[in-house]
């Protein structure tokens, strides 16, 4: 690690001001950022910790029936407290290990947008809204490719708002070493239709599988997607699986998610 200073603001406004300065960077749970610093792959001069900002923490129900999760809320808190949205709570409960879940945050995960992370599938699959210190961003606009998001320099995720579906489920097929998602599929059934979001598979990051959404919207059963398949083209191919294998797994995991949700 290189040397850096740490600031611990108590409000979003103070945090925004601190991050606005040169070479400052937001620190969530540090589960991605700290290993990066240890490898000397980043050298911010100030880390602005978001973990002391009360208004960014916790899980609650909004007046509009949406589940609101503060941007600095840990995975463990979501797993424990998001009882109104069991599929999301279950997903959070399988991220990393207890240490990761007790430190890592939803805001950090979404800001990082790792192509194998779980939250991007949960957020895109739910059609959630990412709220920042300046605006609200619909999930369909938020994710812009591997490690790429709609966030501007210095913008902080303060909250994420999830509409609660009638039924939902997340299926994660783990990459054996890291136990991130080799392929993860989040299926959510709303009165207006079904959303299917896939993580881990595509070189473009999390995406919606529109053919499956259309088929499932008219018939929410595994049979509805029987004939559907994705091509391995554009899918991640690495030590742990080829693009063709990942494409195949998307189908399998989607069916399992539908089975578990139905």
């Amino acid at each position: 690690m290189y040397n850096f200073d740490v600031e611990t603001p108590g409000t979003v406004a103070d945090a925004v001001a601190a991050i606005g300065r040169d070479e400052a960077q937001a620190l969530g749970g540090g589960q991605t950022l700290i290993p990066t610093l240890k490898q000397r792959l980043a050298s911010p001069s100030v880390l602005v910790s978001l973990s002391g900002i009360a208004e960014m923490k916790g899980v609650c129900m909004g007046d509009d029936g949406r589940l609101c999760i503060g941007g600095a809320t840990t995975h463990a808190t979501v797993a424990r407290e998001a009882a109104q949205y069991p599929a999301l709570a279950a997903m959070a409960s399988h991220i990393g290990d207890p240490a990761v879940r007790n430190r890592g945050t939803i805001g950090g995960s979404l800001a990082n947008n790792d192509p194998s992370a779980c939250y991007p599938a949960g957020v895109l699959g739910s059609g959630a809204t990412v709220v920042t210190n300046t605006r609200e961003i619909a999930s369909d606009e938020y994710f812009q490719g591997m490690f790429d998001t709609a966030l501007e320099e210095g913008e902080i995720i303060t909250e994420v708002r999830f509409p609660i579906p009638e039924a939902a489920n997340y299926q994660k097929f783990v990459q054996p070493a890291s136990r991130f998602a080799l392929v993860g599929v989040f299926v959510a059934k709303f009165s207006g239709g079904v959303r299917v979001a896939v993580t881990g598979a595509s070189e473009e990051g999390v995406f919606r599988w529109s053919e499956a959404e259309a088929a499932l919207s008219s018939d929410f059963s595994t049979g509805a997607i029987d004939g559907l398949s994705l091509s391995g083209e554009g899918m991640i191919s690495d030590l742990h699986g080829t693009g063709a294998y990942r494409a195949h797994l998307v189908g399998v995991m989607t069916k399992r998610a539908v089975d578990a949700a139905a």
Partner: protein
């Protein structure tokens, strides 16, 4: 009734109290007043010519004590290789120079190029970033067959090729073996890979060099399995320090698995730099450094052929193996694919003709050397996989095919130079079939199929040669060391005693098991006995711990020393009891005169030895301390039979191990609990190799699996539930040539389990109609799925 002490008792591991309560003393816990820290600048390219190293900017950085490069080591020796293999034409292997810091060229990612010694580690690291290294990158060679096929890319310019040696064993059998293949009724052929592994002991390597200017003495604290070997190699061959001026200490060591046997550059560097800087110098490996600097294991590519006659008797085995040496020869690397591998190709079977060819190859990768099992897992994997394939081709039961070919008469001289002293392979087979409830398998398979899963049953037998090794024999085979073991037993005046052993414990539990043996011999409580190991200053010259040798060789040395103690104590007792020495009996910690009620306690005799007032001073010296060196007359040959049941999810290719059972013959067992722990752990590592672990390079020599994000270690949930993870050692044919009748158990699990798992997976896939003959390890979901849809 389980015993509550002595040989055969499951005494709790006394060392665990300090390990589990944070009171251990590991090398990284050692901090010497005024010590500096070293950071190694390592190559991030696999192959290239160093055209310039500019340290000028780094020299003046805060805290920098001294910066070293390859040029600083021209006057000292290179890293030595402890074994010379002779090739099939009688020529010695090619042995490249192995510098402490790269000189002229870099040959693998991770090779140290420069070393910065500074007040703090962070300062050393900062300064290392200011060093500019210019390297003309050369194409790298990673694939072994390509390395041998062409000299376009040579790892070492001064060698004639990338071939370290081309070894044939037994060369005299080659023609007859080829003939047997011509006459065979059936030949089964299999090409396979034994995947490269990284040992990953929980504690990374650490070295602390210290130097006392006043006495010109150097001390190295290091994470080693064999401190005396390091002292000899480093002192005599690298740095030129005589042994009486060099002390090597390997304190508590958090796992070795072979990779801490070898002498590493960092050890020599810290010892050298401590003197050069007149300051202790410490290095603690990061996990990332461990991946690219600890010697790796396995990495063989093999073609094996098995010839059978019309009655399904094995008539010949022929193999051709490419064995990766990496960029340099690690300490014992040449011996692993040869003498620890070729000699095992008979397995448990009376195959009359065997010919093994091994081509050891230099590549631009981290050096490869012994890893738990070392050569024997590679031999077992080939043999047991090809037998399984033969059984399928012939339509016979894999259990019966094995049984039919078992060796049943002992001693048995194999056609590959070793003589098995004892064994009973039918007994372990019977036992494992009973433990695994093979009879109930059909019902379990039906239940799995009802859930949409495929279920397979895998069987495997193994033999290993351990208790390493007779010195005169290994000397003939090219070892540049003896492989005896030593022990000094020092009895104190009040009767307690200390065993100073040349063995080293880094997880094996010697501090518990060794006292159990002496407690039985003398008839005193285990708590009166303490084991000291790991410090060349207070233990006799010993060869350390690897090759499942500690109880078989180190334990035997301890028995011999204790026998000398008892013999002398009897003399003292006979004097005290005024009886003839031949009438003295030792039982339950007391010496008595046979046929009388006269006796004297152990403690009275030991006190007399040190307060020799009433003592036969004219016949014997005072004191009670004896040393023995034990050189085994043969290897020991543990053997066993393992079974595994897997479920395969045909939709994803995921394999889950539902049941595993092992029946091992370790001869006599000193501490059953420790033995079971060793086997459980060994099987876990074998399952890791079979399903999960794979050290992988790309074609440019970049390490793809350089962290736990990509290198998969076995975890608890990869193993079966404990009630279906059965280890048994009740079949015992005691070793005939060592005093305890013990064989050694440290590596068995890692040797016997990988083929068991793969055999089970193939059985599962075949049951689903998939005509899959083989899957290379690790059988990841992606590979299994691809094989099913191949």
């Amino acid at each position: 009734m389980p015993k509550d002490g002595g040989i055969g008792a499951s005494s709790k591991r006394r060392e665990d109290v300090r390990f589990l309560t944070g009171a251990g003393n590991y090398t990284d816990d050692i901090n010497i007043h005024g010590q500096a820290h070293v950071f190694f600048l390592r190559s991030d390219i696999a192959h290239g010519t160093i055209t310039g190293i500019d340290t000028s900017a780094a020299q003046g950085m805060p805290g920098v004590v001294k910066i070293f490069t390859g040029a600083d080591f021209e006057a000292v020796g290179g890293m030595p290789c402890g074994w010379q293999v002779t090739d099939k034409h009688g020529a010695p292997m090619q042995e490249p120079r192995h510098p402490i810091l790269a000189h002229g060229k870099v040959r693998h990612v991770g090779e140290p190029i420069a070393a910065v010694v500074a007040d703090t580690l962070e300062q050393a690291r900062d300064a290392a970033e200011a060093i500019s290294v210019e390297i003309d990158e050369l194409p790298a060679v990673v694939d072994m067959k390509a390395a041998v096929a062409s000299d376009n890319v040579k790892v070492h310019d001064d060698l004639t090729s990338n071939l370290c040696y081309d070894w044939g064993f037994v060369e005299e059998n080659k023609a007859a073996t080829d003939e047997a293949f011509k006459k065979a009724a059936h030949v089964t052929t299999l090409e396979l890979v034994n995947n490269r592994l990284v040992a990953n002991p929980m504690e990374p390597r650490v070295a602390v060099g210290d130097y006392a200017r006043g006495t010109d003495e150097s001390t190295l604290y290091t994470t080693s399995q064999n401190p005396h070997v390091i002292r000899l190699l480093m002192g005599a061959f690298v740095l030129g320090i005589p042994e009486h001026k060099l002390r090597v200490v390997a304190p508590d060591v958090g796992g070795g698995f072979g990779t801490k046997i070898f002498h590493y550059q960092e050890e020599a560097f810290c010892t050298f730099a401590a003197k050069a800087c007149n300051r202790a110098v410490k290095w603690t490996s990061s996990r990332s450094e461990a991946f690219m600097s600890d010697a790796h294991g396995r990495d063989h590519v093999t073609k094996i052929e098995l010839a059978l006659d019309a009655e399904n008797n094995f008539t010949a085995v022929r193999t051709e193996t490419y064995a990766n040496m990496g960029a340099y020869l690690s300490t014992f690397a040449p011996s692993i694919p040869t003498w620890l591998h070729g000699t095992l190709m008979a397995g448990n079977y009376k195959t009359p003709l065997i010919y093994v060819n091994v081509k050891a190859v230099f590549t631009n990768t981290v050096p490869v050397d012994a890893y738990r099992g070392a050569g024997r897992p590679e031999a077992t994997f080939q043999l047991e996989r090809v037998i399984d394939k033969a059984a399928r081709e012939l339509g016979v039961d894999p259990v019966e095919l094995r049984r039919q070919n078992f060796i049943t008469e002992f001693p048995y001289a194999t056609p590959v130079a070793v003589e098995y002293d004892t064994g009973d392979y039918h007994a372990t087979m019977d036992k494992v079939l009973e433990l695994s409830d093979r009879a109930g398998f059909a019902a379990r398979r039906a239940a799995s199929e009802a859930k949409g899963k495929l279920r397979g049953f895998g069987i495997n037998c193994f033999i290993e040669a351990c208790g390493i090794a007779p010195s005169n024999l290994v000397g003939q085979l090219g070892a540049r060391a003896g492989l005896y073991e030593s022990a000094t037993v020092r009895v104190n005046a009040t009767g307690g005693l200390v065993v100073m052993t040349g063995s080293h414990s880094h997880g094996q539990g010697h501090e518990t098991a060794f006292p159990q043996v002496i407690a039985d011999m003398i008839g005193i409580d285990e708590s009166m006995i303490e084991v000291v190991h790991g410090d060349t200053a207070n233990t006799p010259m010993g060869m350390g711990t690897y090759g499942s040798r500690s109880i078989a060789v180190g334990g035997s040395a301890m028995v011999r020393a204790t026998e000398k103690i008892i013999a002398k104590a009897k003399k003292i007792a006979s004097h005290l009891l005024e009886a003839s020495e031949s009438d003295i009996e030792l039982k339950d910690g007391a010496f008595s005169v046979a046929g009388t009620d006269k006796s004297v306690a152990w403690g009275d005799v030991t006190l007399a030895a040190y307060v020799p007032h009433n003592y036969p001073l004219e016949d014997i010296e005072p004191g009670l301390e004896e040393t023995a060196f034990y050189d085994p007359s043969n290897f020991t040959y543990p053997a066993g039979a393992y079974t595994c049941e897997v479920e395969v999810d045909p939709a994803t290719g995921e394999v889950s191990i539902e049941r595993f059972a092992s029946a091992d013959d370790f001869g006599n067992v000193v501490n059953p609990m420790i033995v079971e722990g060793q086997v459980h752990g060994g099987i876990a590592q074998g399952i890791g190799q079979a399903l999960l672990e794979n050290c992988s390079y790309d074609e440019n020599g970049q390490l793809l699996t350089a962290s736990y994000m990509d290198y998969t270690m076995p975890r608890a949930d990869n193993l079966p539930q404990m009630d279906h993870y059965v280890v048994d050692h009740s079949c015992q044919t005691p070793c005939t040539h060592n005093p305890l009748g013990v064989k050694g158990c440290g590596e068995a699990g890692a040797i016997g389990s990988p083929p068991t798992v793969i055999n089970a997976i193939i059985d599962a896939l075949q049951s689903g109609g998939h005509r899959v003959d083989h899957i290379d390890m690790p059988a990841t979901p992606a590979r299994v799925w691809a094989a099913m849809h191949g």
